[in-house]
């Protein structure tokens, strides 16, 4: 039996093949295309890291000074900045291929005990001083530029910064644990706006700004994350408690795909989450050997896919490569 059209003659087999194409081949092709375009959506963007290097000292001359309890790392494509907390100094290394140069020591009397560090787009350095509980601003030349003291702050004027973040426009976000809010400041420290902490929370330890400039807060004691988008006036939960997969998250970062990396201080590991807060995997483990972590404090990820971790109780900084 023949089916006749104006153009060609088709057998029943031809129609069956067409139907098969539509039913099986097209969805597969569409799926493959979707995977190529959105790999993280297809396979949850599982994260893996490879250990590259461990930094044990300032690498200076014949008598390098070892790192002591480093609690902070900041980075960009060309630079690694370490808060060598136990030695009360900052160390700035230039990144070269898979290695680093000797460090330039930044030690100013206004900075006594650096904890978290961040670098803005112009190479300015910001660090939280644990003893003074103030954010210290240091210029790219390594000179003290002043403290970040918000100007034009509405009531209450008291604030205590526990952590801070810097967005792509160099605006500064301060996690103010005293008045339970996030303060948004211009790069020169003028007050822009504030967002109150959510009603119920344990203890917020860290703040970060993701690739969409959404603000994320880390509640360490409840092991959960809340977020507020750029214009929001309140925070809403990203995750429920992550206690099953993490012990005590102390800090976190977000990458250009929206994945979140939590630094588990007590568990000695990094935990990766998807943009929606779903668990992607555990990176590294607790230990003393290279590649393992012991009470890590802060992490930083640069655009070249290098992950730097302040491995505090191991007195070193470790450099990993994100495997895509």
């Amino acid at each position: 039996m023949y089916y006749v059209s104006n153009a060609t003659r088709h057998t029943k087999g031809d129609y069956m093949r067409e139907a098969l194409k539509k039913i099986i081949i097209l969805p597969i092709a569409a799926g493959l295309l979707y995977f190529i375009l959105f790999p993280e959506a297809t396979f949850g963007a599982a994260a893996k890291i490879r250990h590259l290097l461990s930094v044990y000292s300032d690498n200076k001359g014949e008598d390098p000074v070892p790192l002591r309890q480093p609690e902070g790392v900041g980075c960009n494509e060309n630079m690694l900045l370490v808060a060598d907390s136990g030695n009360g100094r900052l160390l700035r290394y230039a990144l070269k291929d898979e290695g680093i140069t000797s460090a330039e020591e930044i030690k100013v009397p206004q900075l006594t005990y650096p904890l978290k560090v961040r670098i803005n787009s112009k190479g300015d350095i910001y660090t939280l001083d644990g003893k003074q509980r103030r954010i210290v601003h240091i210029g790219p030349d390594g000179m003290f530029r002043g403290y970040v003291d918000p100007k034009g702050l509405p009531s209450p004027e008291e604030y205590v910064p526990k952590s801070f973040a810097i967005d792509t426009d160099d605006n500064i976000y301060i996690l103010d644990i005293f008045s339970a809010r996030v303060l948004v400041l211009t790069p020169s420290g003028e007050y822009l706006r504030q967002i109150k902490f959510p009603e119920k929370f344990g203890f917020f330890s860290d703040i970060t700004v993701d690739f969409k400039d959404d603000i994320l807060l880390l509640d360490s004691t409840n092991a959960r994350i809340v977020s507020a988008n750029k214009q929001a006036t309140a925070f809403s939960p990203v995750t429920e408690s992550l206690r099953e997969v993490i012990r005590f998250p102390a800090s976190f970062i977000s990458d250009d795909r929206g994945r979140i990396f939590l630094v588990d201080r007590n568990g000695g590991m990094v935990v990766a989450l998807g943009q929606d807060g779903s668990f992607l995997g555990q990176l590294s483990q607790r230990g003393w050997k290279e590649g393992l972590l012991n009470h890590p404090s802060q992490a930083c990820l640069n655009t070249k896919g290098k992950l730097f971790i302040a491995d505090t109780s191991n007195n070193r900084v470790q450099i990993f490569e994100m495997l895509r």
Partner: protein, 438 residues
Amino acid sequence: MKHYEMSLQFKGCILILVVSALIIAAPAYSENTFKLKPGAGSAICIECHETIQETLKRPYVHSPMKKGECNGCHNPHTSPFGKLLNNDINVLCSECHKNIIPEKSRSIHAVVIEGNCISCHDPHASDNQFVLLKKGNELCVDCHKDLTDVSAKAEFKHEPVEKKKGCLNCHNPHASADAPFLLIKEATVLCKECHRTDEKRFADRHMNYPVANSQCTSCHNPHGSGNRGIIFDGVHTPVAKKECDKCHEGPSSSTPLKAIKDGVELCRSCHSEMINEMYSKAHLHWPLVDNTGCLHCHSPHASRQKMLLKGSIVNLCGECHSDTVRLQEISINNPENTKLCKPVKERDCISCHAPHSSDGPLLATGKSFSFETCDKCHDWQTHSTHPIGEKVIDTRNKNLIVDCLSCHLACGTGNKPAMMPYESTYVLCVQCHEAYKR
């Protein structure tokens, strides 16, 4: 047609007769089947279980026993549960006593959650109402000796504790839908059932501050105390001296209960020396400088704990550091885990950690979390023949020396032995001595 109708009526009669006969005959049939002796399930049981005969003479008998239904709870032949019970003891009681726990309970007695009803009730019979094992407060003493001791020794007693119903005057023994601590009602409501807050005497005693709706138990010990007004034995000096305005705005203020300063700054007015020292250290316990400050751990008025703490050390630390406290718990509850540090066993976190601030990492009481901290209890230099000390570099990490924390984790390691982070000494040793790896 008529013949057919009669036949239908006839058949209907037969059907009714057969069904009736079956109904009447069914028990007889089943009795015949099991061939039970008269009194099976009750009287026969007692023939062998003689002590039960005596028990049943008591004035309060559990209803299944009263009805002679031993098999209400026990299987006469076999059972996977102890004492030939029909079900797990934790479930069995709730099969009949379904409404013991209100749907949205705010507090539930631990033994009720465990289903351990026989801790308080005799399942057969008792001399006490509700088949309770003991009378009144005597029953509560067995588990809550710390509280009943306070009441017994208190110079100033709280009347309801001593009254006939004792603890049950304020507490529900099973669960409370309305209040914490198994209280029948919220403490503020409950107290006002006996104490008039609208009298001048009440205002005078409270320095004219409007505390009628405040939490009475933030100052008063409901179980009795050595202080007049049953104020907790541990009392903050300004409270003892009735100097409320040292911390609060005046009683005539529009916000009289508001503190005059926020957070740690309020406490600094008197405890400046301590707080200045705290600030001088490299590591601060960060909750101290948020808006709650010292009150995360300390009660501003009075407390049954030393140092005006709000609770036991481990409970306070565990509110935020539940992960570590959980590890401790596992270590302690493992009977094979015999080599535990005393502070871990006693759950005394502040033996090793400074709760306010420290120059050492992780708020260690010493400058390091090893020799200086462990030295308080351990003579580490005689600990083993393994090289240890400032001059011995850890082969795993050139920036570390071999110290106590090279082999042990100080807060407990769950089920791993001797506070080691690995499951055996062998696994620990081959971390460094790789040549001996099997």
